[in-house]
């Protein structure tokens, strides 16, 4: 029972961060939300007894996805400004 509650809390966090990606108009905020989404997804994979998938998601989502999105956002800005 209590494992089910943990599952539901984790999935609620996942859906909330996905909605955050949809809701944010600021692109860098959306990239931050995508990072949080990736972390929680990896914890969910760990809960589902898939440590290989969890570590792949952690390694990919922690550094590489955020890096690619940030580079793309900076590379398509007109002013190259901040915030």
């Amino acid at each position: 029972m209590i494992e089910l509650i943990v599952h539901i809390l984790l999935l609620a966090g996942l859906v909330i961060s996905a909605c955050m990606v949809w809701y944010m108009d600021d692109l860098i905020s959306a990239a931050i939300a995508f990072g949080a989404f990736s972390f929680l997804l990896s914890l969910e994979f760990l809960m589902l007894q898939a440590p290989d998938v969890a570590i792949a998601e952690a390694g990919i989502g922690a550094g590489l996805t955020t890096a690619i999105f940030v580079i793309a956002i900076r590379g398509t800005d007109k002013d190259g400004g901040c915030v």
Partner: protein, 86 residues
């Protein structure tokens, strides 16, 4: 003793949701959101360790090491963008 660890895991996930409130509703600027993301990272590492103890999965702590080693790379990229260095 197992119930204590699972309860701690649930509480940590509640803390993650609390940090996500700052990430979504609050956070007038992007640095606030990066701070909230850092909190999510740290609490998630604690959650993985507690998970490994709660269900007696002895080798899952390796995932926590990878998290702790790698989660700050994303933070550094975001900080570099926000600071205007990139």
């Amino acid at each position: 003793m197992t119930d204590i660890w699972v309860l701690a895991l649930g509480l940590l996930l509640l803390f993650v949701l609390g940090a996500m409130v700052r990430l979504w509703l609050g956070g007038p600027t992007a640095p606030d959101r990066v701070v909230a993301l850092d909190a999510v990272n740290t609490i998630t590492v604690c959650g993985i360790i507690v998970f490994g103890v709660a269900f007696n999965e002895t080798v899952y702590v390796d995932v926590a090491i990878v998290y702790a080693l790698l989660s700050f790379v994303g933070t550094l990229w975001l900080a570099k963008y926000i600071g205007g260095d990139l």
